[in-house]
């Protein structure tokens, strides 16, 4: 995965609270291999009627080239399904800007190069007023933790750990490989002091 520091793209608003991961991708699509692409599953049951006909005024239908989504509180609450992030990323979304995120969703986002930019309620409301039903050019600078739209600048919160991961596109497995000796030493210590933490031989079944 390649990292990124800045992004300039079209921002749109999704004016709904508690957009949970079941909305982001309904469960019935999750047996699909990732290689087939998850973009068409994004918000599937919100963006189309029961026969699959898209609602033309739904934000992501109206603005299919959007790459930044402004959301309301508790975006990505619910399940741990990383498929919710795949749907966003495969659709072309690079950043979500919202006043709060589901914890697991935010961590899954960072693992896939998608920025969860945390802003205040007031700043989210400012962005909603500014963008409304339109799409608006917006730029994001991860290092400066800054969103710029027109002549306005809005700060966002992101931990240094997550900023570094997004900027460098790091895969944690590579990082962890460097710590093999420390992990092995820990394991040996644990096996010696608390042997019961390693499961007993199976006695059932």
């Amino acid at each position: 995965m390649s990292g990124w520091k800045t992004h300039l793209g079209k921002a749109i608003c999704l004016d709904i609270e508690n957009v949970d991961t079941d909305q982001l991708i309904p469960a019935r699509f999750m047996s699909t291999p990732r290689a087939e692409g998850y973009g068409s599953f994004l918000l599937h049951d919100m963006r189309s009627d029961s026969s699959g006909v898209p609602f033309s005024d739904f934000p992501i239908n109206k603005h299919p080239n959007a790459s930044i989504l402004i959301g309301r509180r508790n975006f990505g609450s619910g399940s741990s399904r990383e498929a919710a992030v795949y749907a966003l990323v495969d659709f072309g979304i690079r950043a979500i800007v919202a006043p709060s995120f589901g914890d697991i969703f935010a961590s899954n986002s960072v693992n896939n190069g998608l920025l969860p930019a945390l802003v205040s309620e007031e700043d989210a409301t400012r962005l909603f007023a500014l963008i409304d039903d339109d799409e608006v050019d917006l730029s994001i600078d991860i290092e400066k933790r800054k969103i710029t739209v027109g002549d306005q600048s809005i700060p966002f919160i992101l931990s240094e750990a997550w900023a570094q991961k997004l900027i460098n596109g790091w895969d944690d497995i590579d990082l962890t490989e460097h710590h093999r000796p420390a992990i092995a030493a820990y394991r040996a210590r644990r096996a010696q002091t608390l042997p019961w933490v390693f499961p007993a031989e199976e006695t059932a079944g």
Partner: protein, 464 residues
């Protein structure tokens, strides 16, 4: 002065990075059909599973509850898990294994879940296992691949939130009501960024089943972690389970487990206190678990809310097909579901059966036990007969109609009283209308055909 979170965290911390994250050791890693993305990532790297002995697979999300898999795609998901388990040398509880069931039910049932362990699973309800005083949390597919490859996980330590529940829950009021009560109070994002420790007399009085229900629902309030310090109730539950330590090893383990509680003067980042006596049986009316009210209340009215809330309430009521001001007990249902990692343990089935015994359900419904072992136990106790005599279907074990992945679903526009964990739009099927409540409350709704206060129906009966 350490909290339980501090103690569990410190015991698993291998090292800390300059960016503030900790590398933690994982004692148990539970995988299911949904882990296919992670296995694909592992294969793409050509990596092995670091600790096959600490990795256990189980078929649950796509498990058929009647006959064979509903579609070829569902059958393929199950086969893929079994193939991956075989390829990497993992123990897997497949459909024909008597130990099969929902991952958060079988972990404790088999003694895989123990106090003091760090437990990961690619499922948000992994918080369930915290009921034993374990550090248990749900992870995404990239993290699942990391745990498979290294048996470790990078995490930033969450803040601590203590939810202290004083007093005693009333008759007919249980762990599900307690959980929905705090989520309604703090909001569905109320505990984001926090690990919740539940304490107080009402929590101590809960059985392990009740504690698991409470910790299970932590994520519905936004908390990735929920936990309860272990005690005699915990040790009694664990003793004699297949994967648990036995003999002198068990005694040594108990010595350690007894140290796993927050120190007397430990400070939490946040403290919330609830009075158990004030909690009534609760039902949800909307599409978020925070949309929860005592069953004695009425459907909320947008005109009583602020402008922003009014819009959300209007949209929610439209989806749910409800009118403002209607008494919740007047809301008629089309069907019921008793099951899921939240409420499909033996005690849950007993509580529902205590209400249904000698009564008929006015609506159709499904009862899906949490595991094959629970199914056998319930049948030995005659509970299956109570359900089928009431007119409900007694089916196999799995996630079933909670997440509607296996073909069990609620039809569009239909209203289901459900013991599950999420009333999200479309969760139980596209257009489905879900009302969350306890197993006893679902049983009461089945008998009357509408949302119902179970308490009068328990008079003269033991509430199991």
């Amino acid at each position: 002065m350490n909290t339980l979170l501090d103690k569990l965290w410190n015991a698993h911390e291998i090292l800390t990075n300059e960016d503030g994250r900790s590398l933690l050791w994982v004692d148990r890693h539970l995988v299911h059909e949904g882990s296919h993305h992670a296995f694909a990532k592992l294969a793409a790297r050509g990596a092995r599973v670091a600790e096959p002995g600490l990795t256990i697979g189980v078929v649950d999300h796509y498990a058929p509850t009647r006959g064979s898999a509903a579609t070829p795609a569902i059958a393929r998901m199950i086969q893929t898990l079994e193939d991956n388990a075989a390829a990497y040398g993992l123990t897997c509880f497949g459909l024909k294994d008597p130990r099969q069931g929902i991952v958060h039910v079988i972990g404790p049932e088999q003694g895989l879940t123990l106090p003091g362990l760090l437990i990961n699973c690619g499922d948000s309800h992994t918080s369930t296992h915290g009921a034993f005083g374990a550090l248990a949390f749900g992870i995404g597919a990239t993290e699942v691949a990391h745990v498979l490859a290294t048996q470790t996980i990078w995490q930033t330590k969450p803040k601590s939130l203590r939810i202290n529940v004083t007093g005693q829950l009333g008759p007919g009021v249980g762990a599900k009501d307690l959980a929905l009560a705090w989520i309604a109070k703090l909001g569905t994002g109320g505990a984001q960024g926090h690990a919740v420790e539940y304490s107080g007399d009402a929590v101590r009085a809960l059985s392990m089943e009740g504690r698991m229900t409470l910790c299970n629902l932590s994520i519905e309030g936004g908390a990735r972690f929920g936990m309860i310090a272990p005690d005699e109730t915990t040790f009694d539950y664990i003793s004699g389970r297949p994967y648990a330590p036995s003999g002198p090893a068990f005694d040594k383990a108990v010595d350690y487990w007894q140290t796993l509680s927050s120190d007397h003067h430990a400070e939490f980042d946040r403290d919330v206190t609830l009075d158990a006596a004030e909690i009534a049986p609760i039902v949800t009316w909307g599409t978020s678990p925070e949309d929860a009210l005592p069953v004695t209340a009425s459907v909320p009215s947008p005109s009583d809310a602020s402008k922003d809330d009014a819009e959300r309430i209007t949209a929610t009521l439209d989806y749910m097909g409800l009118t403002p001001g209607k008494a919740l007990t007047d809301v008629e249902i089309d069907q019921v579901f008793i099951g899921s990692c939240t409420n499909a343990r033996i005690e849950d089935l007993r509580a529902a059966a205590a209400v249904l015994a000698g009564r008929r359900s006015k609506v159709p419904g499904l009862v899906s036990p949490g595991s094959q072992q629970i199914k056998s136990q319930a049948e030995a106790e005659g509970l299956d007969r109570i359900f089928t005599d009431a007119g409900l279907d007694w089916v196999g074990a799995g996630c079933s109609m909670c997440v509607a992945m296996n073909g069990d679903s609620v039809a569009p526009g239909k209203r289901c009283a459900s013991t599950t964990n999420r009333n999200f739009r479309g969760r139980q099927g596209r257009g489905a209308r879900t009302h969350l409540m306890s197993p006893a409350m679902v049983a009461a709704a089945a008998v009357t055909g509408h949302l119902t206060d179970v308490r009068p129906m328990l008079e003269g009966r033991s509430a199991a």
